[in-house]
């Protein structure tokens, strides 16, 4: 016998379709209403004209865009270098903290002291200490302020990332380690082939989140002098007594972050789905 949908079923389908159309219309309507209200509230505010000329001035934006873009290129390179090195440092410190045995005690102590102190220190202060304190020593071969500032960022973020990695390592069930050791794998091989791959997968979402935060914080290097996007904007603001360059830099930073944020959301969603699948 061939299946023919019953009256009942056709009814249900038709009803659901009507409901779906209604929801779309309602959503469009309410979005339009909220948008109109916001526009009226902002543009109707008594100070709007003044804010518009000092924050959203198109000629000023166009004038400083090239310098800010130049600066942003520095931010982007800094981000790639800092993120890579901070991850490597974090992973190394997290693994060092798992070492057992008396010989490893000093290593463990240093690693623990490092994660404790640098998670508490404000990044700005670390940058100042590195960029202005270290050159003050007047030693031979001290690198440029840019390198010192980057080192400050790497060391500070390394401490956060170390904790993320450690949480991941500890989330791997001891029975996985027992299984690896029972096969004759040594401690290092167990870490490398069994524990770390699972740990990193599990903490990928928070790791990427911290990278998004890092993306913004590399801008703090401007405090030490190098001309990044924020510093370029600052120069523009000072020259023209107009805040528009800041808005331009802000928008650019946001655009730069968008792909990373999208990837983070995607990875998080995938991780959540895998959890729900009950692997």
């Amino acid at each position: 016998m061939t299946y023919a949908p019953s009256e009942r079923r056709l009814d249900r389908i038709a009803y659901r379709r009507r409901q779906a159309i209604r929801s779309v219309l309602l959503a469009a309507l309410s979005t339009a209403a909220v948008g109109t209200l916001l526009t009226v509230a902002v543009t109707g505010a008594p100070g709007w004209e003044r804010v518009k000329t000092s924050f959203f001035d198109f000629p000023t934006a166009r004038k400083y865009l090239p310098q800010i873009l130049d600066g942003l290129w520095l931010n982007l390179r800094l981000l790639v270098v800092c993120a890579t090195l901070a991850m490597a440092l974090g992973l190394l410190v997290a693994v060092l903290r798992t070492l057992r045995g008396p010989v490893a005690f000093p290593v463990r102590a240093i690693a623990t002291g490092y994660t404790y102190s640098f998670r508490g220190l404000p990044l700005i202060i670390v940058i100042y200490l590195f960029a202005f304190g270290i050159p003050g020593l007047r030693l031979q071969g001290i690198p440029s302020v840019l390198v010192l500032g980057a080192a400050a960022i790497i060391i500070t973020y390394g401490a956060y990332l170390a904790e993320v990695f450690r949480a991941g390592i500890e989330s791997v069930h001891p029975s996985q380690i027992a299984a690896a050791r029972s096969l004759g794998l040594g401690y290092r091989q167990t870490m490398r082939h069994v524990v770390l791959p699972q740990a990193v997968r599990r903490v990928a979402p928070p790791l990427l989140n911290d990278t998004v935060a890092l993306q913004k914080d590399v801008g703090l290097i401007s405090l030490a002098g190098p001309i990044d996007a924020i510093r370029a904007a600052q120069i523009g603001v000072a020259q023209d007594a107009n805040f528009t360059p800041y808005v331009v830099a802000g928008v650019l930073f946001m655009l730069l972050a968008l792909p990373l944020i999208a990837v983070t959301d995607w990875v998080t969603l995938r991780a959540a789905r895998r959890q729900n699948a009950g692997s």
Partner: protein, 246 residues
């Protein structure tokens, strides 16, 4: 003699788990460890595999003392296979990678050789089609058979099986037991902790009953399971029969 445990003692804090336990296993012999839950079967197997350290007594493997603190645990474990109740496959690796990990990384075989050998085993146990699958795509019985293969490819002198069917749905127990029966046919030396008395009767050359931290009674399955000498053994078996497991 492949394995020889002498006067082994193991405590967890105040808790004495193994107390003056002695057990010998000959080449090609299959010994079934039975005993109440918590009687120390897993602990004994973990001590033999050096996942736990004994407090006292000695364990010899092929005549070498493995409880000597100077013995390298990794070397010892390379000669002993251990299969867990909960399979413990590595979830981030395919079936094939699970199996070839130790041959490649520990026994330094070429990946091609390790793969060929793994595929031979998978074909033998009817899982060749699953070589590229991740463990979470396999049934419990399939996962456990992969775990056994993973231990076997290293050609261990001794295979330890810790209640390998306890976590399985009843209809999946058979496929794993069939595999173990085949291994006995190959002459594999095995110690298996089990709750499956019927199976112990079929495959074991000897049954050892663990009670009070020692081997209270041991002998051929027909004797220990059919006509036990010790009252404690009779009580244990009566409880098992009551639970419908014999």
């Amino acid at each position: 003699m492949v394995l020889s445990c002498k006067n082994v003692r193991k405590t967890f804090g105040e808790h004495v788990i193994l107390d003056d336990l002695s057990l010998d296993v000959d080449e090609h012999e299959v010994v079934a460890l039975i005993g109440a839950s918590g009687s120390g079967k897993s602990t004994l197997l973990r001590c033999v595999n050096l996942l736990e350290q004994v407090d006292d007594g000695t364990i010899h493997l092929d005549g070498d003392e493995i409880t000597d603190p100077r013995a390298d645990p990794d070397r010892v474990r390379q000669k002993i296979g251990l299969v867990f109740q909960s399979y413990n496959l590595f979830p981030h690796m395919t079936v094939l990678d699970n199996i070839t990990l130790a041959p490649v990384r520990v026994h330094k075989k070429s990946p091609a050789e390790a793969k060929a050998q793994a595929m031979q085993w998978l074909e033998r146990v009817g899982l060749a089609a699953k070589a590229g699958a991740y463990p979470d795509r396999l049934s419990g019985g399939q996962q456990q058979r992969v775990a056994i293969v993973r231990a076997l490819v290293n050609q261990p002198r001794l295979l330890l099986l810790d209640e390998v069917t306890s976590a399985l749905d009843p209809e999946l127990v058979g496929e794993v037991l069939t595999m173990i029966r085949d291994l006995k046919g190959d002459g594999t030396t095995m110690v298996l902790a089990t709750h499956e008395m019927g199976f112990a009767r079929q495959v074991a050359d000897r049954v050892a009953f663990l009670d009070g931290g020692r081997v209270l009674e041991q002998g051929p399955p027909s004797q220990v399971l059919g006509d036990p000498v010790e009252a404690r053994t009779r009580q244990f078996l009566a409880r098992i029969i009551e639970a419908g497991r014999l």
